[in-house]
């Protein structure tokens, strides 16, 4: 019998981790709901054809496929297998796969339920996704995504609300140094027009997307490889070096990028910022970052990325507007805008900065030490009364050594124990011990309720 182990890139979450995760998810959920987003959950398994072709060549290879049940070889593509063509063979061996993100299942849901959904449709979804990435530090094969999207509304009030949600969640979690970066894909389209490369927008955005990691020289190298000329690259470099206030940057765009797309992008940014400023933000800073590109192809308007300064971590949230979420499933022109919280990264930063409140951990509030059969009966009765008041309590199940019982209470971080022997049962004066200070006090049964609820 071999020692059991976990698949690489997966994790168990014991009570202490669960408490922290629930704290983060709970905060996100509460804020989503305050803005009118409603919960959705989709199954872990999707039809393979729902998922393939949605994440690019590279993404497709990271999708976890489920082997067909039963005699799967009977219906397999024997030619592809004989030729050793794993990719082709896989489609005859698998009909289902694990979801790779929450966006594609959401799009599928919207299309399948189009006649029942009231538009604009605002949903949030907090569920794990699975990717066959090489596991590494902070990179897992199973991890949670926390998404909120509005579809069926072009109003930029949605963008402004999503910025407020970033701010409200991260402020609630007490994260300092939060910067919400804003840009607009239309400005990048305008840039492509300006340098005469409007047909090559993808290569342009993919290259600019690497700016924060590789700097101007890196982007230059990328663009060269992708066949951009020196003159074109020079213009991109001028664009990337624009500095100053939001107004300065927008003015530079307006003056230099003379295209309707760029103009529209500038207008949208002004409008979003205007709508955010109606309330202002609590703790986050809102910045216009012209170098922000976001890799994903489907964004067409505002794009967001959130960083936490001095965290040594990339972005902790992202999002943007897309014009055609559901087109791939046959329903054209459904515009929407969505955001996603990177809960795993947020958790790492909060752990490092010790931002989790001490009372996050769910634990028993009060344990009864077990002194024997008669005392146990007394305790079981009293425990039931406490639970009726919503107090978390347990009676140690055996009358073993005091030391063992105490070490259980300590290991579980239970703050108080009750010591009830025959004398206490008679007098009704119970001995309450604070395990933190070691202090013992006498309490009347009745006063327990108010002490703990």
């Amino acid at each position: 019998m071999s020692k059991p182990s976990l698949p690489k890139g997966t994790r168990d979450f014991g009570p202490a981790d669960m408490a922290k995760r629930n704290y983060i998810f709970g905060t996100i959920k509460t804020v989503f709901e305050k803005y009118g987003f409603m919960p959705l959950e989709t199954p872990a398994m999707e039809s393979l054809q729902t998922l393939t072709g949605k994440y690019g060549e590279e993404g497709d290879q990271l999708i976890f496929k489920l082997l067909n049940n039963g005699d799967f070889l009977a219906k397999s593509d024997k030619e592809a297998i004989a030729l050793g063509d794993s990719k082709k063979a896989s489609f005859s061996l698998s009909k289902k796969a694990l979801r790779y993100d929450l966006t594609v299942p959401f799009a599928r849901f919207v299309v399948m339920n189009r006649s029942d959904i009231a538009m604009p449709f605002k949903r949030y979804q907090i569920q794990p996704v699975w990717r066959g990435d090489r596991p590494g530090k902070g990179r897992y094969q199973e991890f949670y995504q926390c998404d909120a999207d509005v579809v069926g509304s072009a109003s930029l009030l949605n963008e402004a609300d999503l910025v407020r949600i970033f701010d409200e969640v991260l402020t609630s979690l007490k994260l300092e140094g939060v910067v919400i970066k804003l840009n607009n894909r239309k400005i990048l389209s305008g840039l492509a027009q300006w340098i005469g490369k409007e047909d090559d927008l993808t290569n342009l955005t993919v290259s600019i997307d690497k700016f924060d990691k590789v700097g101007v020289e890196g982007v230059e190298k990328e663009l060269t490889i992708r066949g951009f000329t020196e003159l074109e690259i020079d213009k991109v470099k001028r664009f990337l070096s624009v500095t100053g206030s939001i107004e300065d940057k927008l003015n530079w765009i307006s003056e230099n990028l003379d295209s309707s797309e760029a103009k529209k992008g500038v207008e949208e940014i002004r409008e979003i910022i205007g709508k955010v400023n109606i309330t202002g933000l609590q703790a986050a800073a809102l910045e216009l970052d012209l170098t922000l590109a976001r890799g994903l192809n489907y964004y067409t308007g505002a794009i967001f990325e959130v960083i936490v300064k001095e965290s040594g971590m990339g972005s902790v949230c992202g999002g943007g507007r897309y014009d055609d979420l559901t087109g791939v499933f046959g329903w054209q022109g459904v515009s929407g805008v969505g955001i996603s919280f990177g809960a795993e990264r947020i958790m790492d930063i909060m752990n490092e900065r010790e931002l989790f409140p001490l009372d996050t951990a769910v634990t028993t509030q009060l344990m009864f030490v077990n002194f024997g059969a008669e005392e146990e009966n007394y305790c079981v009765k009293l425990a039931a009364e406490l639970r009726n008041q919503g107090i978390k309590t347990e009676v140690y199940p055996e009358s073993t050594k005091m030391k063992k019982q105490m070490s259980y209470a300590n290991a579980k971080n239970i703050p108080y124990v009750l010591l009830i022997g025959s004398q206490e049962m008679k007098s009704g004066e119970l001995t309450l011990k604070n395990l933190d200070s070691g202090e013992q006090t006498k309490v009347k049964k009745e006063s327990l309720f108010s002490l703990f609820s």
Copy 2:
């Protein structure tokens, strides 16, 4: 492009379903925590070798295996593939699989963390599991299990607490006609001894397990097929026909099944019932059901099953004591006792009996109708103030037709809308409309906070 669809036996849960599911899961979770159980979550994927061989021949075939990523054919068992031996081939094509239940992952977790766990270890786990069963009414390929287990304690106080948990959860959910059936595997062992078939306990329990579906004749048939003699079957029939109060039944056992195992079983039942009676139960009835066998092989002591009368449904909960949960992973002799709530069946009964409270559904409490740019700004500001008080609110994102905005509010079951035009902005007297009654009232801005929080 084909119309998207869901894999058979899987479901999406939109906002209304999510609210109901969260209501059930939340109730179960709250009660588990009141008794000192702490949350655990394990990954969806386990190593294939962790799962295989744990669920019997039949179960093994229902495990969903994940196709290895990358060029999986390169390392495949080409001989098995050529021979069309799907079963053998599958082990060379797959290293990971989806969890089939929560018990085996729990056992793996306990063994992997044995040095860090304080015993007795009380954990609960509420997560989906996956089985390649043929989908049908009430039978899904993805469904939730809600388990609570205590390991490392032989005390029967644990059994009594689990009975109280059944009662408390189902009473909280307002289910009527709940019967908690209790039996003990030791009595069934005693029965096997009595009829001289102690080496054939599995065949005996598997046959008796079918009693509630097929009756005495059915069990008789089963036992005949499994090679039991007429004399042996006659004794089993006498056992199955014992009626009367709990005391009557226990006396019959004591008088007839003269074995130490049976005696121990009777003692345990008396002790569990005694410990339950210290507090009594809220609404459920506790019954001794000698015909209760529970199919699973690993139970060795108390066994439970919970039914809801007149629901037309089988058991909604189950559980029992096992003496060796972790032996299969190399750690012998860890005794424990656990229960499981069948949340899907409970949900079906509650739907049929309309037991979900109306306010289960999470929805926006108050929507601002959008009359134009200036009004929107006013509303956005006020909405932010309301959200600061924890009130769920949204501003309709566009100043479209009133009818469209109202039908959105209705579809989302939003109970109130605020109508704020230029006049209201000036006077500060806002028009609040109750969408249920249609009634309109004037309210001051300040009084909104107390109205909705």
